[in-house]
């Protein structure tokens, strides 16, 4: 039983480590800035997830207490990682792309990053009819 648990903890650690290294390797290998952004989101999900699961399992199995800090770390990572990624993406859109190089913004005119104060004024002056529900 003990060896089985040890085996499980070790396996989770290895899985976490492998995905961590794949994420870091992706940062080097991928060749355009937006694709590079994908690599860190990978490392935070399964990479960190594997290590945290291993930590919880180890605490429960060998140190005889239930540890919930890992859940909190996961929660905070899931809250912060998308926001960081979004900020970096927005910087990229702001500095490297123009309205013409971006894809169509659905039924709207442009993407929010390319919004200017003039657009704001125009919207307030003539409120567009709401999109059909």
């Amino acid at each position: 039983m003990v060896t089985l648990l040890e085996f499980l903890v070790a396996a989770l650690l290895v899985i976490g480590g492998v995905f961590g290294i794949v994420g870091s390797f992706g940062l080097i290998k991928l060749n355009d800035p937006m694709s590079r952004l994908h690599a860190p989101t990978k490392a935070t999900t399964l990479g960190v997830g594997g290590v945290l699961l291993a930590s919880m399992l180890h605490a429960a199995a060998f140190e005889k207490y239930f540890s919930f800090h890992e859940l909190m770390i996961t929660l905070f990572l899931f809250l912060t990682a998308p926001i960081t990624a979004n900020f970096i993406a927005k910087v990229h859109i702001h500095r490297q792309e123009t309205r013409d190089t971006m894809p169509e913004a659905g039924g709207d005119d442009h993407w929010a990053t390319h919004d200017t104060p003039e657009d704001e004024q125009r919207r307030q002056a003539a409120p567009t009819p709401p999109a059909d529900e």
């Binding site: 994908h38 990978k42 979004n86 971006m102 659905g106 005119d109």
Partner: protein, 165 residues
């Protein structure tokens, strides 16, 4: 009754903060429960001007289902993306922008959808359109952009619609 709402403007937030505090303390005791509850009352009360509206959770039980679906997707997608990173030459990869038209209206739901898209590897939400009717998603490898868009709408947006709207 009015006084109770005044004192507890966000009951769900109070509950969440109390539980968060207990988990941070990591050891069960009455002391930390009381202190956590105190924080849970104080923080929403002080920050009340920031959240004038209460998010409307229509079906709280669906949240559990949603989390499970997202977690399994994360594991699957991680493996797919690891394969792409390790074995697919950059010249074969088709990175692509995808426009996802939004049916969701509430900011909370759109935020949840954007976060989910980023956390499931292979897709990354980058921007919303100026009036909030579409979401811009970057795809690591999308030979067929329409399929990715339909999957996002089918799997995540439909479920979030049920939860929030």
């Amino acid at each position: 009754m009015k006084l109770v709402w005044r004192l507890f403007p966000h009951p769900l937030l109070t509950l969440l903060l109390t539980i968060t505090w207990l988990l941070l303390v990591n050891r069960w005791s009455l002391n930390s429960l009381v202190f956590g509850f105190l924080l849970g009352v104080l923080i929403p009360f002080v920050t009340q001007p920031f959240w004038p509206n209460r998010p409307n959770l229509r079906r709280p039980l669906k949240v559990a289902e949603y989390i499970l679906v997202v977690l399994t997707d994360i594991v699957q997608a991680n493996i797919i993306v690891a394969r792409i990173v390790l074995f697919k030459p950059n010249t074969d990869r088709r990175p692509n922008w995808i426009t996802v038209p939004l049916e969701l209206k509430t900011p909370e739901a759109i935020t949840a959808l954007a976060g989910t898209i980023t956390m499931t590897p292979g897709t990354l939400s980058a921007d919303v359109s100026d009036e909030g009717h579409a979401l811009l998603v970057h795809c690591l490898d999308a030979p067929n952009p329409d399929a990715v868009r339909d999957e996002i709408k089918q799997r995540y947006e439909r479920r979030l619609m049920e939860i929030f709207e």
